[in-house]
Symmetry: C2
Subunit: 233 residues, 2 copies
DNA sequence: TCTATAAGTCGTCAACTGACGACATATGTT
DNA sequence: AACATATGTCGTCAGTTGACGACTTATAGA
């Protein structure tokens, strides 16, 4: 490697100009499970920052261990990536969300706001979002089919709950239901994308944004359903 | 490279198992400008598919030329990437959008729908979106500040136009105005992201989705503004 | 204290990668 | 036909990678 494209390369490899990494002098010899957990934790941040193509040597530096040791825990880099993905991306979804969204002792708007406050907390972090994007972009079968299915289901639940509360009759087309839900979800997700991927500054606080988007969704709900019905070809 | 992580590697490098590429036997010796244009066109697709870390050799294959020839046109890979970004990502924004959005001889809803139909056509394609995402994720200064500024401006125009038509008084906080616009823009952008990045199937046609989201935005506009005012701390 | 074993490192291999000097050839002009 | 020049290729260099065999050493149980 000559010099011209150092910046690009460094970004992709995870190199830091001045070499940070912990003082590898610290304590050593962790038990297997503990070391593995530490590697996974570090790897999550590392790959989220530097992309899935970042190098194992840099990761090892970041962990304060030799590159060889990584291969005592994971047969290949891909296996490591798989485990990071499974734990950090898939692992954060909470089955309780479905139940809570359908708890009709509370008004739907309240339920949806509470859901999104929790949802944003675990999934729409810098770490999660960047990792998810890198995974989505890669051709790997790690692809977000599973997540897509979960979110689609969440959308359907949200739309049905609002319709129930507002006594609105929904169309039979479930795809349309999902798209209606995505109206809200897309807006909120995009807030997170803007914040963590586009590094936007001058951004409103999370709670306010959620409240605003949910309100808009609730108020426009009837006419959205009506509009769909009107546009049937 | 041994064998285990072939799939991952191949995805990142742009290799195709059975080696596609055009029959490089075809006609040769294009004039400078023509060849450069061909390279840029191919490079756009190539990097959109395989990421910014894909290799120059594979790109050369894809172009049907030798790797060396690439360096007759671009001093470094980074320069090539810069030019792709400038042409394909930045180059598609149309200054006329601002004027058209402010043409009050038409109803605001109509203007916004027309705008988004055009906007989706040029920016929210697979090629554009993936490239934009890769660029956003990379630490490179190629970062989307410029785009962010343009879109933010578009948002402000849209919000002001709707407010004018509906005779609604807007808050002074411009950040709030932008966030209101992002309500709509995020929802529509996210539709494209879902479609091209998450490879979602079962998706409603573009026009319908735009109409639905714009309608929801228009109907909920007053209460969104009101809600913002209510939540001032 | 001795030792088995788990925890960890060194050094290296082969393929990959950006970059480029040296060389080859098509094409139009005279 | 001869030539100048732009178009294009070959081969190679040096630094980078994922992967792994061989080796070292801390630590707990006998």
């Amino acid at each position: 490697m000559k010099a011209k494209s150092e910046a690009l390369r460094d970004a992709a490899t995870g190199r830091k100009s001045a070499e940070s990494a912990r003082p590898k002098a610290g304590r050593k010899r962790l038990p297997h499970a503990e070391r593995k957990a530490q590697i996974l934790k570090t790897a999550t941040e590392f790959f989220a920052d530097n992309g899935l193509t970042a190098q194992t040597r840099r990761l090892a530096d970041e962990c304060g261990i030799s590159q060889r040791l990584l291969y005592r825990f994971f047969p290949t880099k891909e296996d490591l990536l798989d485990e990071v993905y499974r734990q950090e991306i898939l692992g954060v979804f909470k089955p309780t969300w479905f139940a809570e969204l359908q708890d009709r002792s509370r008004p739907a708007e309240k339920r949806i706001i509470l859901f999104y406050e929790d949802y944003l907390k675990v999934t729409l972090t810098r770490k999660w979002l960047r990792l998810f994007m890198y995974a989505s972009l890669s051709e790997a079968r790690m692809a977000p089919d599973y997540i897509s299915a979960i979110v689609t289901h969440l959308m359907e639940v949200i739309v049905r709950e609002v319709a129930e509360e507002k006594a609105v009759t929904l169309p039979d087309d479930r795809t349309a239901l999902h798209e209606m839900g995505w109206t809200l979800h897309g807006a909120i997700s995009h807030y997170a994308i803007r914040r963590h991927l586009y590094k936007a500054s001058n951004i409103l606080p999370e709670q306010k944004v959620i409240a605003m988007h949910v309100r808009t969704f609730m108020v426009g709900f009837e006419s959205m359903v009506q509009d769909y019905a009107d546009h049937l070809d």
